[in-house]
Amino acid sequence: MSSIISIKNLHKAFFNKKVLHGIDLEIAAGQIIGYIGPNGAGKSTTIRILAGLDRQFRGEVTVMGYNVKEEPLEVKKRIGYIPEAAEIYEVLTPLEFYELVGGLQDLEWETTRKRAKRLEEYLQLSYAKDQRIDTFSKGMKQKVLLISGLLHDPDLIFLDEPLAGLDANSVIRVKELLQRLTERGKTIFYSSHIMEVVEKISDRIILLNNGKIAANGTFEEINRQARSGSLENLFATLTGATSEALGDFDFTADE
């Protein structure tokens, strides 16, 4: 199977601080890829590079056959991207926001409207007519963002912490939605800190630590190496955050 994402020797630094240290990755289409790692590991940076938003890197990155450095527009046409904690122009209503996003993706308004309506129904997002986004809760805003990223029916979807702010029911809905999308041949590449979800829905898990890939495979494959039982333990083991390291910590000990 040909790779939908191909990363070869990817290096990225912000000024003198190296963030990614030579990542190599091949990802086949039609999968849900859970991209996990501790804070500051370089997850969001990788996703921004893959989405064609950051071209200041070393290495070769192709998405759906297009080199992201040379043809970012071709990549952007074919992908959906939802950044982490993304802001929205909140003075707009959801429909107006969809109109903006759909228009920028060159979608007909009628198509945008219909797709948005179906997605809103699926994600159980309801609001009053003409209600602005600035009156929405965090979870509702996150749903608006998710919908806006799917409007143009992209083949490859990058989601940076898509479950942030969602309640338990909404998390279930989004999980189901992601699975349905892969059934339609879409590829989902997402980052999350909710290990239980990552463990359950990901076809493949990639663990990034200190800018390097620490583990790559299905949960079962990775677990065979570390024998941790759960992704949470596995994460702690591979990133060096085990409870043994804390010992008998007492922050009032010197008093």
Binding site: G103, Y127, T135
Partner: protein, 557 residues
């Protein structure tokens, strides 16, 4: 400053505040002020030379108020007018600049979870605002103080300093009590809007106030004007201070002077007392304000609240259909239009400047026309041309502001989508600003010019519109920001540079226009208009197809 506040610790304790906590909170807030930090979620720039410039201008305004002492025979009235100016200016400043600080609730999660009383919290706020206000009051006071010290004497200077403190207390507590009453009486969501419009109104008044010093010299018969010690002296808080001047400096105070002096002290004490009294549950109220706008979707849905405010979609749609192509151009047009209608910070920055044009024109027309011509109101070609070219203000200000937003991080959407002809963003954005501000204003100005000057000014109007559009294009080309993609604290040459270029080119083109009028049969003006309109059409066409490189918006920290 902290030390000064510490001197009054017994007083704070008497009010029921914790002096130690008060000092810590105040010290932290002042430290944050010096470093910039965040206000209402917006990154503030560290203090820069701009603050010094503002202080310089305030000192200059303070110097203007010396004219009251020079012009008026009755110094108690001069004092009344000086402090009235303070009350208005500082009051407006508190409304425009400090409303956000007053209602800033970011620290509440930290402070309210600690053992801190409401009184401590509200006192820390008023003291924080007091420090801010004191800086401006000092700027106003220094020139007058120097004048009094040299030409009047040390005792009047001391009295002036005492009255300055009373004025600051009256103004601060007056404004804050008004806001606190609003906070307690008005639902949080509505209050946000009220504050916004109040700020807008205050900024408009500021523009008017800036024009006042130039009239100071033209008042005739002002020497005998009296307000202090008169019945009219009760009309405005600033007037009350003159009573103290009559009692302590000039002597011969009337019963009314005593009453006004008493009223001033009463207002200051009652304001402070009322502020402290109103502070119970202050934190909770502020939190309500912070929460307003989040998690209320279901409630709003139940009430079927429609919050869209597009009052004239037919006009918008007409412009959009006639002048923009479907796709990115029209999308950006409609988006820009909507945000301009709704973004409170955009309105606060833009609408007051719309007041500026009529005021400026009023001054130019009526002062110059009445003053110089014995036959009454006569308009010269100079005035008419100046009017036509000053209309550029109506487009440059909103165009600059339509690149700034408190939601600037949301502009990631423009760079995350695939668009080759990025000039379409610029074109749609520009058209929205032209449609909303320039076209209506230019229609009014053109009709007025035709009424005042007659049909012979038609070519001038056509030429001036072309020139104004050209300035707009230059400004838009030089300021390469995407719509609403720039932090509202942004500044420097990035913003000021294009404005400067346009100001210079507007002046040059204005003079050139005047020169073209010298040519016979109006040929020069017609030829100029033709050239400018062709340039505008070519440029507009180029803009639509341009693969424009915009300034990368800062969408992440």
């Amino acid at each position: 400053m902290i030390w000064l506040v510490g001197l009054a610790n017994p007083l704070w304790q008497a009010f029921g505040a914790d002096p130690k906590a008060l000092r810590l909170i105040l010290a932290t807030k002042l430290k944050m002020d010096d470093r910039g930090g965040y206000v209402m979620g917006q990154q503030q720039k560290p203090k820069s030379g701009m603050e010094k410039l503002v202080f310089f201008f305030m000192t200059l305004f303070g110097a203007f108020t010396i004219l009251f002492f020079v012009k008026l025979d009755h110094h108690a009235t001069a004092v009344s007018l000086v402090f009235s100016f303070w009350v208005i200016y500082i009051g407006l400043l508190l409304i425009t600049e400090l409303s956000e600080t007053l209602f800033d609730a970011r620290d509440l999660y930290v402070l309210l979870s600690r053992p801190i009383t409401d009184v401590t919290l509200s006192l820390s706020r008023i003291l924080h605002i007091g420090v801010f206000t004191a800086k401006f009051a000092l700027c106003f006071a220094v020139p007058v103080g120097i004048y009094l010290a040299i030409w009047v004497g040390p005792w009047p200077l001391l009295v002036f300093c005492f009255l300055a403190v009373v004025t600051v207390v009256i103004t601060m507590t007056g404004t804050l009590v008004f806001y606190l009453i609003l906070l307690r009486r008005v639902p949080a969501q509505k209050l946000k809007k009220i504050i916004g419009y109040f700020q807008m109104l205050a900024t408009g008044l500021f523009f008017i106030l800036y024009q006042l010093p130039q009239f100071m010299d033209s008042f005739e018969g002002i020497e005998n004007f009296r307000v202090s010690g008169e019945w009219s002296g009760f009309l405005f808080p600033g007037f009350w201070l003159g009573g103290w001047w009559s009692i302590l400096v000039e002597g011969g105070a009337t019963t009314l002077s005593w009453a006004q002096a008493g009223l001033a002290i009463f207002a200051a004490s009652a304001g402070a007392w009322f502020y402290v009294r109103q502070s119970s549950n202050y934190g909770e109220k502020l939190l309500e304000l912070r929460m307003a706008g989040s998690g209320e979707a279901d409630a709003a849905k139940g009430q079927g609240s429609a919050v869209s405010d597009e009052n004239n979609p037919w006009y918008r749609e007409a412009i959009s259909r006639w002048f923009t192509r479907r796709g990115v151009e029209r999308t950006t047009f409609r988006f820009t239009w909507r945000v301009m209608l709704r973004d409170m910070s955009f309105k606060q920055k833009t609408y007051p400047s719309m007041v500026f044009l009529p005021i400026l024109l009023g001054i130019i027309f009526f002062r110059d026309s009445f003053g110089s011509n014995p036959n009454g109101l006569v308009f010269s070609t100079n005035q008419i041309l100046m009017t036509l070219y000053l209309t550029a203000i109506v487009i440059i200000t909103p165009l600059g502001q339509a690149k700034i937003s408190e939601y600037y991080r949301a502009s990631w959407i423009f760079i995350a989508t695939a668009n080759k002809e990025t000039g379409a963003f610029a074109y749609g954005h520009l058209l929205a600003v032209l449609g909303m501000f320039f076209i209506p204003t230019m229609v009014i100005v053109a009709v007025l010019v035709l009424i005042v000057g007659g049909l012979e000014y038609i070519p001038d109007i056509i030429l001036a519109i072309g020139a104004n559009l050209l300035f707009t294009f230059i400004f838009h080309y030089l300021d390469k920001h995407l719509p609403f993609s720039q932090n509202k604290q942004a500044g420097g040459f990035e913003t000021f540079g294009p404005f400067l270029v346009v100001s210079v080119s507007a002046t040059i083109l204005g003079f050139a226009h005047y020169g073209l009028r010298m040519l016979p049969y109006g040929l020069g003006v017609w030829a100029g208009a033709l050239i400018l309109w062709i340039s505008v059409a070519v440029w507009a066409n180029f803009m639509r197809r341009e693969q424009r490189i915009f300034t990368e918006p800062k969408t992440t920290d």
